[in-house]
Amino acid sequence: MMKKIFWLLDVNYEVKNHQPEVWIWGIDDEGKRILILDRNFSPYFYLAIEEKENPQAVMERIQSRREDYPFIVNLKPVDRKFFGRPVKAIKVICQDPNFIEKYSKGLEKIKGVEKCLEHDIRYSMRYLIDNDVTPCGWHEVEVEETENELDIQVDGVYLAKSFPQSVEKTEVPQLKILGFSIICYSPEGASKPEKNPVVIISVATNAGDEKQFVAKDSDDKPIIASFIDYIQNFDPDIIVGYGANTQDWPYLIVRSRKLGFKLSVDRAKTEPHRSIFGHMSLLGRANIDFFDFAEDLPEVKVKTLENVADFLNVMKLEKRRFIEDVDFPKYWENPEKRPLLLQFSKENTQCVMGIADAMLDFAMQLSNLVGLPLDHVGTAAVGFRVEWFLIRRAYKIGELIPERVERPYFPYAGGVVLEPKPGIHENIAVLDFKAMYPNIMITQNVSPDTYVSPTEPEPSGVNVAPEVNHIFRSEPPGFYKKVLSDLISVRDEIRSELEKLSIGSMGYRVLDARQKAVKVITNASYGYTGWVGARWYVKPVAEATAAWGRRTILDTIELSKKTGLEVVYGDTDSIFVKHDSEKIKKISSEIGKKLGLEIKPDKIYVRVLFTEAKKRYCGLLPDGRLEIVGLEVVRGDWAEVAKKVQEKVLEIILKEQKPEKAVKFVHQYISDLRQKRVPYKDLVVWKTLTKRIEEYAVRAPHVEAARMLMKEGWDLSLGDKIGYVIVAGPGRLYEKVKPHVLASYDEVDIEYYMSKQVVPAASRILSMFGVAEDELLPSKAPKTLLEFMES
């Protein structure tokens, strides 16, 4: 018997002869890769018992039908809570986790059973929750070494003799990371793994190696084989890609099968398999697709690899020589151009590695905080991340986890948004409530378990939400209050810890990523309350929190006005006021006293421009950056040309306050547009398919473009971004659409881009300064000689 200290990389389970076995993949404190098998943990679920029923009687009923449930090994009456109320329950211990789903359906029908609970918690997750084992965290466990019967690629296989205990240790072990990207070749149409080869596989590792596997002509068998060998030799702990879950892995798997071998790249020498969360799971390695994390970067609109890499300063767009998918064949077939394609592929992998470097710390901390394994946490939507965090907390306080129920979406009143005063405002401070909704939930004790429904007798000591009149017990502290208070105090602790560390040090990086993860989960909590897919969904919780939020902001506006602070705008949890530090100090201290909330200046705008519409404005920061909210430039349906023009117009207006100069700029831009000096890609409009193609009843431009692509053999699915341009010719807009990859610059309808994109986008701003739309059109603005003087 010995003790092992290890860092948890991945977890899965196997069932042999109805006997479950948890596989814990880890790295020990000596840097050895280990697999620990734990056969000691029994799967179970709960039966909640009807209020007037006796658990013993229900248990006897189950016993009498024992032959129907051969894998039930034990029944135990337990006291638990459900939505804060005490309930009687029976813990059903079922030896084979794969029978839980089936058994729960049968047992639910037994007299006295109100419902089954926690039957929908996966066994490996159950193991992590109950033992408080966290992914990307250090643990100690008693083990015994055992035979590596299955020839698993690890330094040692062990049998667990105790459950793992977490140990205090923050550093991350030295991980081996491999990034890759592939290029497929199809002479025409989208490539299909059944017939088209993978011609380039670019690989890079954090050991500094870069390698390309390049097919000779169309023979990809040797390169896929070399790629597999390379992975097995390097033996990465983490494999990173971009779009790998949906594209690269499935393509490689199908392609390998077609070529007659298995893509055995994991530590058990089996193929990657699709997991319940939708990601590709590699036994013993964490496969991370950073496309899943791009969702967390709202600043990046079109979430392509190159755009994300640009945003994260991994590789700037200007430095890249971009090659469109449709052009791959041209480059591959031409020996002179092929090196460019190789370079492009190499850079794709470099981008992947760079993104991994920028985001992996955060991914690991998020995984550790919410308890989802590293390869799941990215794929899980934000609601699920919050929920898994809550599930762990619920277990600790004896709360049963509600089942997931399908509910229809319902709208409810959200935050207050004031009518802005259109025009330019100078020196504006934006006052933000620090975590307003989480703080409201804490101070008002808003929680699914503190909610008092109208049918219940009103207890003494309640908080009543304004407008909606929902009632919440003020004592004892609710589930959400406890969880959120902890999160907030943990973040405060981390931040004071951070102050002691030097920026850039290993400890700093880890803790900084940790506080970001905590912040993400804290701020997502209110959104979770209003998400109909939430297990703890209670409609009045969301409604009441929103109502208190509205009351808070309205009170703040009232108070500001009384103090003589001019309010120019307000949205949800922030107000925009004329900057006056004295008065701002005064109201923030008063709000602290009166509402128990913290409000502070988040930023100062030198100048801010409001349109007459809500949620659409642009501010100039002291460092010269523009912040654009909700305007065309950040919305869909518009081509880059419109965005660029609007952004530049805003910049001229806000920095120089010269509308006439902005008008001149627009004229010049239109002139460039007509002379085709504007890059073709800036004419592309990007839109996401939100339904399957067949479900679209209307003839929308992007749907038409998608149809054309599919005719050309492209595989499109829900969520794909479709890029199209408008080409010259008669007819309605949707009849003038062409996918950008199939159209050429010469076909483009320049007049459309001028009068329907550039001019309206500029006019949106300039009309506020008395510039009529037709003044922007060149017919009223003769060309100048200057245009003919440039070489």
Binding site: R674, E751, S779, P782, K783, L785, F788, M789, S791
Partner: protein, 251 residues
């Protein structure tokens, strides 16, 4: 030092008048060879390129090369006072920076006016390959443009090897003016390819009206949607050329 004399004051008056239609402040390049000016109007739609050799003057003295900037409409006010058979003398007092204008006829009057800070910016000529070259009488061109101005504020000029056609379309009325090769108005035309371009009539008519006093023959050069070059042949050693940017029509 700079001092020049011209026996016929009208000659100077007409030229300054032609320049004044585009610019308010004119910066002249004065050298021992003669005087030059090249400038764009404030909206940068048109440009004037003017040059007189020293032989144009009856007396011409210019020491070292310099730039002289004057308010041209003020200068015009004074020159308008010149009459038949009067001569004019310009001299620059470099100490005071004032320009002396002496008009001599039945009697002599001497005005003085300030010079302004010269604009140092060099104006390049537009880089255009012209496909059409048409030679007209200045008077014939003026007539045609006046006709077009009756119905619209812009005119489309089209040309091939046979003819030049001006097409004006106004809100209510329209006009087509056809000038055939070899006619009294259109002396000659060469077109490498048929071309058409549209120009603002307010500029065009002002330019031609002012130039007609200085020149009998005009050479027009243009290409599709490119600037037009109007060169007005000068009786003595000099040149007066205008460039005008096209208007791009939007359907």
């Amino acid at each position: 030092m700079f001092k020049v004399r011209m026996a016929d004051a009208k000659f100077l008056k007409d030229m300054i008048s032609a320049i004044s239609i585009l610019i308010d402040e004119a910066t002249f390049d004065l050298t021992s060879d003669g005087i030059k000016l090249r400038a764009m109007d404030p909206s940068r739609v048109a440009m004037v390129d003017f040059e007189w050799q020293k032989t144009v003057f009856d007396e011409y003295v210019c020491g070292e090369a310099m730039k002289m900037c004057v308010n041209i409409s003020e200068m015009m006010k004074l020159l308008r006072r010149t009459g038949k058979d009067e001569s004019v003398e310009l001299s620059l007092d470099e100490k005071t920076g004032r320009l002396k204008i002496a008009i001599k006829g039945k009697y002599t009057r001497t005005f003085n006016m300030p010079t302004l800070e010269a604009i140092e910016e060099e104006v390049p000529t537009p880089k255009v390959t012209f496909n059409v070259r048409a030679k007209t009488t200045t008077e014939g061109l003026r007539e045609a443009i006046e006709d077009a101005s009756l119905v619209s504020d812009h005119v489309r000029i089209e040309a091939d090897n046979e003819k030049m056609v001006m097409q004006a379309t106004g809100d209510i009325m329209g006009a087509t003016i056809e000038l055939k090769k070899g006619s009294d108005a259109l002396l000659d035309i060469e077109a490498k390819e048929a071309s058409k371009a549209t120009f603002s009539l307010s500029y065009l008519s002002e330019i031609v009206k002012a130039a007609v006093a200085t020149s009998d023959i005009a050479t027009l050069e243009f290409s599709t949607d490119m600037p037009i070059k109007l060169d007005f042949k000068q009786p003595k050693e000099g040149k007066l050329t205008f460039y005008l940017a096209p208007r791009i029509e939007v359907e």
